[in-house]
């Protein structure tokens, strides 16, 4: 394992215990995030991408059972006591959620959000220091520091998301997890937020884990990509090779079914069928039902990860 990785995820398994059965949300996920790298986790709803992202900060609900390792600075976050994880959150690893309205406290000014964050790590922090740090972070996210005294409701959706990003980067974390940071926003605002991320990539020394369902956003921001389906990593590759030459049938079909704005491409593609039930998974490959290349073996045996020139793919085609 190289020293340059800021985060390593090894054989991560996550299950949710529910009344109607065990939901196998993530199975045997392994990948790493290098320093200054942006890793995109992409997949459709229910593929386990957000669960994986939340696990990095140990933010899973109490009915979740985890196995495997999430290694940060040589230690496994999953087995760390809650008290120590709290010291990590915000300062070492931070998260930006999808919905900025529910993530900000409606009765707290923007300044107070920063104050709360910084007090958690430094109980007797001075107000001047908070304002200094907050101004810098807001500036980097494209918000004027004049708005420190405003309440969340005084901001538009895009501006709120910028405030969330500013909170995420305020304490200069090494890793920032962005969970669908642009999903509830309009395209133009989305582009403005992506510009913020592009700027952060250039100017700050941090790794970004970008969770999204939008293959367009991944193409524009990520260096490496993890493609998830029904809780499993199906393909793990660098962004150029993945889009140029997708190996897994699911990645191939997914890329084809994205509507694009090239006017000469008028064919609509879709993937027949639907996701398997995560409480009652098939024996073999989880994509078997929908795969155009499915063989007898795929039905019976679940494929392991195969390495194909520095890339990883979970499919018997590459045995």
């Amino acid at each position: 394992m190289s020293q340059e990785n800021s985060l390593e995820i090894k054989n991560l398994n996550i299950e949710y215990l529910t009344r109607s059965g065990t939901v196998h949300a993530v199975k045997d996920a392994s990948f790493s995030v290098a320093k200054k790298e942006t890793l995109g986790i992409v997949g459709e709803s229910g593929c386990g991408k957000s669960t994986t992202g939340h696990a990095i900060l140990k933010l899973l609900p109490s009915n979740a059972r985890t196995k495997g390792e999430i290694v940060y600075k040589g230690r496994n976050v999953l087995t760390m006591p809650e008290k120590e994880v709290r010291h990590l959150r915000g300062k070492d690893i931070s998260i930006v959620f999808q919905d900025p309205m529910t993530s900000l406290d409606p009765i707290m000014r923007v300044k107070d959000h920063f104050l709360e964050l910084m007090r958690a790590h430094k109980p007797n922090v001075k107000e001047e220091e908070v304002i200094q740090t907050a101004s810098e972070a807001l500036e980097a996210a494209g918000v004027s520091k004049k708005r420190l005294d405003n309440y969340p409701f005084e901001f538009s959706g895009g501006m709120r998301q910028r405030v969330m990003i500013a909170l995420g980067i305020a304490l200069k974390p090494n890793v920032i997890v962005a969970d669908e940071p642009t999903t509830s926003l309009d395209v133009v605002v989305q582009e403005q937020i992506m510009e913020v991320f592009r700027h952060l990539k250039k100017t700050k020394d941090m790794s970004i884990v970008l969770i999204t369902h939008d293959l367009g956003i991944v193409a524009e921001l990520a260096d490496k990509v993890v493609v998830m389906y029904a809780g499993e990593v199906m393909e793990y590759a660098d962004v150029y090779n993945l889009y140029k030459n997708p190996l897994h049938p699911y990645t191939q079909l997914l890329l084809k079914s994205v509507p694009n704005i090239k006017i000469d491409d008028m064919e609509l593609h879709h993937i027949p069928g639907s996701l398997p039930d995560l409480k009652n998974l098939p024996q073999g490959c989880r994509f078997y039902d929908r795969c155009p290349f499915a063989k007898e073996k795929c039905k019976k045996e679940e494929p392991p990860i195969f390495k194909v020139d520095k890339r990883e793919v979970r499919c018997w085609l590459y045995e």
């Binding site: 501006m159 395209v187 582009e191 293959l215 367009g216 509507p259 008028m266 609509l268």
Partner: protein, 331 residues
Amino acid sequence: MNKTESVVVVKDLKKYFPLKISWLEALRKKEKPTVKAVDGISFDIKSNEALGLVGESGSGKTTVGRSTIRLIEPTNGSIKIHNQDIMRLKGENLRKARKNFQIIFQDPMASLNPYMSIGKSVMHPLEIHNIGSSFKERKEMVLELFNKVNLKPSSEFFNRFPRQLSGGQRQRVVIARAIITNPKFMVSDEATAMLDVSVRSQVLKLMLQLKDEYKLAFLFITHDLASAKYICERISVMYLGKIVEIASTRELFEHPLHPYTKILMGAIPIPDPTIKRNKIMPKGEIPSPTDMPTGCRFRTRCPYAKKECEDMDMKLIDMGNNHLSACPFIK
């Protein structure tokens, strides 16, 4: 364009929402302040034609969809659907006319009664409009339609409940319910926005297929230009209550004229990491609809804005090829 063959003709549609003010303010001011959600837009749709209505949230596109079929009462304007003056209809007559125009909403779970089997849900419009003479006949019609929208085996699906279906299947049910009265005009309000990519194309394909089969006039409301491309023959772009550009799909994608359309197109992420574009981005944010700029409404954010934009009236100008744009400076 030949007006006689248009199924839907909307002229100068306006919808103003009154703002709540305190009685003290009401005493001082003569005129009540309003939000001009839709401010004088006109369009027409032929049979078997889909018109896209694209814009950001707050542009008024949903209000257009709902007031065109009088789910909300328009402030002003004339609406003709299938040669019937919709604005003049009242009470029972309006209810009867509704079988000619239907709407599909974004969230199918909110559109379906959770306690009603989907078969009964889809049958309901038949009962309301008195189509079919017996339960058996109506059920037959529902089953046939279920096959058409690919809810197979249809007799099994008939007794299922919304919670037992996936998101894509639920949207198929909603589409079946909208189409069962054999309407002439269909509004789809962000009907595919909540669906995952792999399922979204399935539903888009189904809508295309039904549009052809039923010769529907289709108003396809979306924020996603890329989806509109596959469905629509023509696309109109809305900004703050006004249509700023309207053209055939190919024409619009190849030669967008209005600065706002150009920006909207540039903002769509392309799933290809090798493409690096030079993006023009608008200044600032969408202005509040209660305090709209004078003249061109886009001028406060437009990268090409000049002095003249302050007092022009955003009229659509024909630039040739049936390509209408509200910006007279870019041709």
